[in-house]
């Protein structure tokens, strides 16, 4: 019974943090964009404009929900949920502290689901999220949306493989696909983190994750310069807001996964700093990667989508395989 109560508390709190971050992330994105573009960004609502996102939300909720007459209505309405539900599910897998912590005399794992195939689960859920965009593109009955959906599908095929193979190196080093054990494998100071031995995998994974998140320079599905708004062209009001929401939730989750796999998860960079709770370290790392995503988005032009597939298939896939081979040899030699 107490286990269940703790699970409930963990579930509610951790998800609340993820969701609660989103309005502020949107605010930060706009502020950063303003900074990069010599503007001020939002200033009006709340102190320094920090409540801007809530105002936007109220606006989106009060708007008319237009469903195109000739759209596939059921799929059209379902699509935004398919995009962001997997993001929440991945959140359950991310450890935000050690296992078996003693809280009020109870042994508690500081992870919602200590799932053995966690990393595999993450890859699977990531693939499902793409269906949200493909469905939205198809169901809208609009050529721009269709092209956006198709591009996203092509994108996913080209990137998920390289991404998955990049992770296998980590699995070999940690000897596990469980997120908690991967974090345990990175115990100690920051030079024990996997991003140093697995720097190639990190670069591949990080760049692929930008494509996975559909952000510049790989936002070919949305591509407002050519596809109007890609898969979101026909969406309006809060349904459109859900796509945006899903995008930011996925960004939090992806940053958390990168932090967990390559940057020691909840661990402090120095063991001397362990007195600060792991939760805070994890959030800090997540914010850092989110900043990187924003920085890249507001700096670079966009790749054409066939060039994007070129990079996925011709550069990242061979590189990931080579990285895997080298890692496998080294791990087998060291462990013998």
């Amino acid at each position: 019974m107490t286990d269940f109560i703790f699970l409930l508390i963990k579930g509610v709190l951790w998800v609340a943090v993820g969701v609660g971050m989103v309005p502020f992330l949107i605010y930060f994105e706009r502020k950063w964009a303003g900074f990069f573009q010599s503007r001020v960004g939002p200033t009006y609502a709340g102190p320094w404009g920090s409540l801007q996102s809530f105002g936007d939300m109220a606006k989106l909720l009060s708007k008319e929900d237009v469903v195109p007459e000739r759209a596939d209505k059921a799929v059209f309405k379902l699509a935004p949920y398919i995009l962001f539900v997997p993001g929440f599910l991945v959140m359950a897998l991310i450890p935000f502290g050690p296992l078996n912590v003693d809280i009020f005399g109870h042994k508690v794992d500081l992870v919602i689901a200590n799932f053995d195939a966690g990393a595999i689960m993450f890859m699977a859920l990531g693939s499902i999220a793409v269906y949200g965009i493909v469905f939205a593109g198809w169901a809208s009955n609009n050529h721009w949306s269709l092209l956006g959906g198709l591009r996203c599908g092509a994108n996913m095929v080209s990137y998920e493989i390289a991404m998955g193979l990049a992770l296998v190196g980590i699995f070999l080093m940690a000897d596990s696909v469980n997120f908690s054990q991967i974090v345990d494998g990175q115990a100690g100071n920051f030079w024990n983190w996997y991003f140093i031995p697995q720097i190639v995998a990190f670069v591949i994974f990080f760049i692929s994750s930008i494509a996975e998140l559909n952000r510049d320079p790989f936002n070919v599905a949305e591509a407002e310069q050519e596809l109007v708004a890609g898969h979101m062209t026909e969406y309006s009001g809060m349904r459109w807001g859900l796509f945006m929401f899903g995008e930011y939730v996925n960004m939090v989750v992806m940053s958390a996964v990168i932090a967990t796999l390559f940057f020691g998860g909840w661990r402090a960079p120095f063991t001397a700093l362990d007195f600060i709770p792991g939760f805070i370290w994890l959030i800090g790392k997540v914010l850092f990667f989110i900043f990187l995503y924003m920085w890249i988005r507001w700096t670079l032009p966009r790749y054409r989508y066939n060039q994007l597939m070129d990079i996925g298939w011709k550069i990242f896939l061979p590189l990931a395989i080579a990285n895997l081979a080298v890692t496998a040899v080294i791990v087998s030699v060291v462990q013998r």
Binding site: Q37, S38, W298
Partner: protein, 431 residues
């Protein structure tokens, strides 16, 4: 200016040498390339038709391109213009020669002084008005400022076409300095109406020369900054090299002029070939590139911006004293300040406002090198105070027609960038 000075004034040249100047592809090669795409797409059985514009968010103006797509490859393009048609040429027949100047602002509203200037040059040729030297210098400065502001705006929008949104605002920031100069000069930031038949509307205001010199000294530094951001940017190179090629036939068929022509290796520049204003008294180089693709058009425009700064600097150095408006009672409006003091000026003003200037019979064609290409004005006069017929040959109109030739066989993702590289303003095209 010596050759070595010129080199230091062109940081751009380093970049050009980094990318070896390729020999221009022969017409056969280009034709073969286009034929190959045509072959590739001719086997397809199904195309989808999308309407890009006139409400597409990234179309420049109300241009409509109806595209037939095979997957993402453009098979066929139907370019539709005319959504912004205002009957400017007909309007000219109901206005005296003076009254038409503000209408020319609305042609290419991004570079409206070039439009004023081209029109006035044509009218002056018709009337045989001698423009004072100072006025010609001021016109040259204003025309080059106009080119700078046009190219900076173009650059921002063009890079944004490829997805980099921040660059757009950086360019807007710098365009602001030029607009401020224009505001000081004539009170307007966009629709200048600064040229007059026989000169310019006002003399340079107090301190303007100093301000202008500051801007042209400072802009090249900003242009260097742009170069660092864009010229060797891997993604931009990947997106822009080798796409949107004008073949030699296209250039001839569609009367392509301006930077698009110069990017194809043709050093045609009316400022050099048929000098007007003070262009025969300044030294400058005509920017030429050879590959005729989107990237080379970008390079040509970048070089032109450095050249424009150069020209303005030279004009400011040699700015002569004297009148800024010709003293020619039959053809030129009097100065406003004299109208209430001087009986002759008052009569002159009255005649010009109520009747119009005295114009000989005849036909005239005059073209200037506007930022977007050659802007030609044809006037047919029957001796009346209004043109019998006025026709405008605006660069955007011709470039707009060439769009289908540019789009053929390219990817949908590149279409916006290619369209942007032709630099079309619909006010200019539709008239």
């Amino acid at each position: 200016m010596s050759a070595s000075d010129r080199d230091t004034a062109h940081p751009m040249q380093d970049h050009v040498h980094m990318r070896k100047p390729k020999p221009r592809p022969t017409p056969e090669e280009l034709r073969a390339r286009k034929e190959a795409t045509r072959q590739r797409v001719s086997g397809s059985v199904e195309t989808i038709t999308v309407s890009m514009g006139p409400q597409h968010p990234s179309m420049h103006g109300v241009f409509q391109a109806v595209l037939d797509l095979d997957g993402e490859v453009i098979v066929n393009t139907d370019a539709r213009i005319g959504n912004l048609h205002r009957g400017v040429e007909k309007l000219a027949e109901y206005r005296t020669y003076h009254q038409f100047i503000p209408v020319t602002d609305r042609l290419d509203y991004i570079s409206s002084f070039a439009m004023n200037h081209g029109y006035c040059e044509a009218v002056e040729k018709l009337m045989g008005v001698h423009v004072p030297r100072r006025a010609r210098y001021i016109r040259t400065i204003a025309h080059e400022l106009c080119r700078l502001s046009n190219h900076i705006l173009w650059l921002g929008v063009h890079i944004m076409d490829f997805g980099a949104q921040t660059f757009f605002l950086i360019c807007f920031r710098d365009r602001e300095y030029i607009l401020d100069l224009f505001e000081m000069l004539c009170g307007a930031r966009l629709t200048h109406s600064y040229a007059r038949i026989g000169g310019v509307a006002k003399d340079l205001p107090e301190g303007w020369e100093h301000k202008c010199r500051e801007v042209v000294d400072f802009l090249p530094k900003r242009l260097d900054e742009y170069q660092r951001l864009i010229t060797q940017n891997r993604i931009f190179l990947k997106r822009s090299v080798g796409i949107g090629i004008f073949t030699v036939e296209d250039l001839h068929t569609w009367r392509v002029t301006g930077p698009c022509l110069r990017a194809a290796g043709v050093p045609r520049d009316l400022r050099k070939d048929e000098p007007y204003a003070a262009y025969d008294e300044v030294e400058f180089e005509v920017a030429v590139e050879y590959n005729s693709d989107v990237y080379d058009r970008f390079l040509v425009r970048m070089k032109e911006m450095y050249e424009s700064c150069n020209i303005i600097r030279q004009c400011l150095d040699n700015l002569p004293d004297g009148e800024f408006l010709a003293e020619d009672a039959a053809h030129v409006l009097p100065l406003k300040k004299n109208v209430m003091r001087d009986a002759a000026a008052m009569v002159q003003d009255f005649v010009h406002v109520f009747r119009g200037p005295q114009v000989p019979k005849g036909e005239v064609y005059r073209a200037v090198e506007a930022p977007k290409g050659e802007f030609g004005v044809y006037i047919s006069s029957d001796g009346g105070p209004k043109p019998q017929r006025l026709h405008l040959a605006t660069p955007s109109f011709f470039h707009g027609q060439a769009v289908p030739a540019l789009f053929e066989g390219e990817m949908l993702a590149d279409s916006v960038g290619i369209f942007g590289s032709a630099d079309i303003v619909l006010g200019d095209s539709d008239r």
